[in-house]
Symmetry: C2
Amino acid sequence: MEQRVSLITLGVAHVTRARTFYEGLGWRGQEVAGTVFFQAGGLALVLWGRDELARDGGIDDGHEGGSGGSGGSGGSGGFGGVALAQNVRSPEEVDAVVAAAERAGATVTRPPATTFYGGYAGYFTDPDGHVWEIAHNPGFTLAEDGSLILPDFGTS
Amino acid sequence: MEQRVSLITLGVAHVTRARTFYEGLGWRGQEVAGTVFFQAGGLALVLWGRDELARDGGIDDGHEGGSGGSGGSGGSGGFGGVALAQNVRSPEEVDAVVAAAERAGATVTRPPATTFYGGYAGYFTDPDGHVWEIAHNPGFTLAEDGSLILPDFGTS
């Protein structure tokens, strides 16, 4: 596994509220299908509904009955509402990295599979429950040095 | 506030266990005073004790009586065990960014102050409780493009 991070996704309760906050800090992003992408150096900071993020990753968010529950597993180990992603150059590399992570002791929460956006991705958690996605996304450019470059989605 | 991330700190229950996991993935880092730093492209991924991270940031980790409690506030809003940091070029810039964040609606959890490592930093949380540190750390190089470059600590 290369030593880099392509995206940091922050799970949020209300995407518009979160976007307004980051725009208040001077950040400028693009919204696609309810997800906001900010280019931040060689990676992207992403705002996405926390429930959708957990569902996408096969993660138990520690509560029942929808968003905002309070029956969770705070302290160590529970879903922290954040996912790190490393984008790789092929579906085969997704398989290889997720398999290597499992051998290293990761819990695979979503075995690699095709994604709704036409890519291929799997998720695992590290020993403390931190969430990683390994993804091949043909729509996002990976520079030679591993930097992720967002496309111009034609949105604002 | 510039649109970039300098460090991603993962709060962990056992630093050695976490380091062993990431090394099992092929990552190579440096350990300094119980903290592990991995250069990951233009940022650093950091492993630090979750309790120390929460304490450093003035964050309530949602449990009493030390690590591993289960009385937390899972679901949205509680401490997710992750902190993002943006390193800036002066203590004055720390003050300015934290003040701007507060005006944008952030909760300042630790007002800017000198740090144990000889820097100057403050922390805030975004509307979903995601933790940001804004830091001036004279020991870490910031490249012209904002990339963070770890020093050689002379450790392994």
